[in-house]
């Protein structure tokens, strides 16, 4: 038996599973993701770039895009600062009800956006729990840009917090203790030691929040009043123009929003390493 030494080279059999599974994956994603995205661009540019540009330059379209950006900016600013503060408190101090607070902060992800918008109306609306006392004084929060910001804040509430908190949790306490023994005040320690370590988390948290806020529809349509040129955000504009049968107008904005999210996600994806570089 030992004399029959096989001299033939081992050739690994062709593994069918590999190309097959990759193929199935791509094929499944085709109608679900790739084709819908592609059709925005195919349709939007089918009548030439000139008409795309004209649709984009319509005053209402520009206003909608601007409004989306501005409201999303303020919501993002608030939620990043709040998320930073909440993450600091909830990871540094242990107190009764801490877990309940963490769950509550994370809750808005699970609430349907239409419900969120409805809830805001019931609170701040002209007949709402608080709003009914404010409206006699001429204070109207709903159906304004402020309402859009409120809705954005509510819907994107946990995003920045969710990214920042784990970084806080894993951060070594000895860095802050070292800073204290060196003579730094709490504020100095936070500014020079804690914050730089959170840079990556803050940027990705902000981008996530912003991307989500720009695309917000369900809650915005309820609280904004959807007034063209006044409280109509970009997603609402798409919806309105589509309802009016102005597919081109809707499509132009859709392209801009799609490109915008590509941009944010490529920043998130490629800048991770750069942001965490020492």
């Amino acid at each position: 038996m030992s004399s029959i030494v096989p001299t033939m080279r081992h050739v690994r059999g062709f593994d069918v599973a590999r190309p097959l599974s990759i193929g199935v994956l791509v094929f499944m994603m085709l109608p679900l993701v790739f084709l819908p995205l592609a059709s925005i661009f195919i349709f939007g540019t089918s009548k030439g770039l000139a008409s795309f540009w004209a649709a984009l330059m319509a005053p209402e379209a520009i206003f909608a895009l601007k409004l989306s950006m501005v409201t999303s900016f303020w919501a993002t600013l608030f939620n990043v600062v709040f998320g930073l503060f909440a993450a600091y408190v909830l990871s540094r101090y242990n107190f009764w009800g801490r877990n309940a607070l963490i769950v509550t902060i994370s809750l808005p992800t699970a609430i349907p956006t239409a419900v969120a918008g409805f809830a805001l109306l019931l609170l701040w609306g002209p007949y709402g729990i608080l709003g009914r006392f404010l409206s006699p004084h001429g204070i109207q929060t709903m159906f304004t840009a402020g309402a859009i910001i409120l809705a954005n804040i509510f819907v994107t509430f946990p995003l920045a917090f969710g990214v920042i908190k784990p970084v806080f949790d894993t951060m070594s306490r000895s860095l802050e203790e070292a800073s204290a023994t060196i003579g730094a005040t709490r504020v100095q320690t936070f500014w020079h030691v804690t914050l730089p370590s959170l840079r990556g988390a803050i940027v990705s948290g902000a981008l996530l929040t912003f991307a989500r806020a720009v695309g917000e529809f369900g809650s915005t349509i309820l609280v904004s009043g959807n007034l063209a040129g006044r409280t109509q955000t970009a997603p609402l504009y798409i919806f309105a123009k589509f309802n009016e049968g102005q597919i081109e107008a809707a499509n132009a904005i859709a392209i801009v929003l799609a490109l915008f999210s590509f941009l944010i996600f490529s920043v998130l994806f490629f800048a991770r390493d750069w942001l965490d570089v020492d």
Binding site: S179, T181, I182, G183
Partner: protein, 412 residues
Amino acid sequence: MKAKQVMVTEQSTSSDATRQTPPVATSVVGISKRFGKTSVLENINFDVAEGEALVILGASGSGKTTILPIIAGLEQPYTGKVMLHGKDVTELPARERGVGVIFQSYALFPKMTVEKNIGYGLRIRHRKRKEIRETVDDLLGLVQLEEHRNKYPSQLSGGQQQRVAIARTLAYKPEVLLFDEPFGALDAQTRGHLRREIRALLRKVNVPAIFITHDQEEALELGDRIAVINLGHIEQIGTPLEVYTKPANEYVAKFLGAANVLSGEVKGGNIEVGAALIPFREGHDFSEGQKVKLVFRPEDVSLTKSSDAPPHQCCIARGIVEVTNFVGAYERVSVRIDLSESGSSESDETPFYLTTQTPESQTSKPIIATRPKPEATAVKLKQGDRVAVNLSSFTVLPDVPPRGQKQVTKKV
């Protein structure tokens, strides 16, 4: 936070204010610490003189790691106070104490360069740029990291990081340097090298230092004095030589290296160990008939084949060589000594009591002796050889039970 109301108990008994050493830089007076109901430190007292290095040596769970945060102001003691250059700082927060802590992990700021790390203490004190640059340059030179000034901590080796951590604290002229297990994260070779380096550095800057360690070799080499801590109590404070050669109790003797311990009794100016009578070298204050422990180090034992002891040594017993191990610089010999017979009696048979754990283990005890290589090669010993066991030096301790296993169970 709960133990805010510091209850200063009567600790006047233990403070020895009259020391003839250089001025006291740091003192810890009657410190105790509890976590919940577990007591971690009990009435800790020690002084560190200007420029002195004190090593706090203890096993894990001894409470040694709790002392540093208390001195640094990161933890509040339950009772007692911390004095820095005569000033009571017990109530001051960490940032107002001006203490330099070298954390075990070094805790360098990862997003700052070496230069920025070292200058941090001065930057937050709003010193002038020129002054900061000069100090940083000086310190970089002192710790020999000039060419690494623009690197980030993650790009440095462990030893380099440690030097940055030291320089970072030296920048603001600390009252005292606190080292928390400074060499724990390093390999054995780097350790020894860095130890000597830090020792030389401390001599140069003349800043008092407190080291926390569990490594007795490190303690002996680093410290001007060593405080041995066990179960939250300081067992002994003394120079390395004192603590090693005159241990205050069995725990200290055993913790600072290998020690043989034999039980005996004081009998008419001698210590009776088994059948052997060992004369006291110096005066003693033991009463007649008192139970004592005879403690001696392996290197204090000399083994001779003839029964007459070398000069200035006394023969305590005869024994049989059980095992010899060659361990590099010296040879380690396990000898089972027979305490039932007098030192010179002859009984050549009985090889069967090599089976250890016999009922008469009261009278036959294993001890460890070490012999330097020249001696080991000159006089070969092998298993079964009969030898005389002679001592050149030993310590006599009262036979008291070791510190009770109190409720100090919390690992710190």
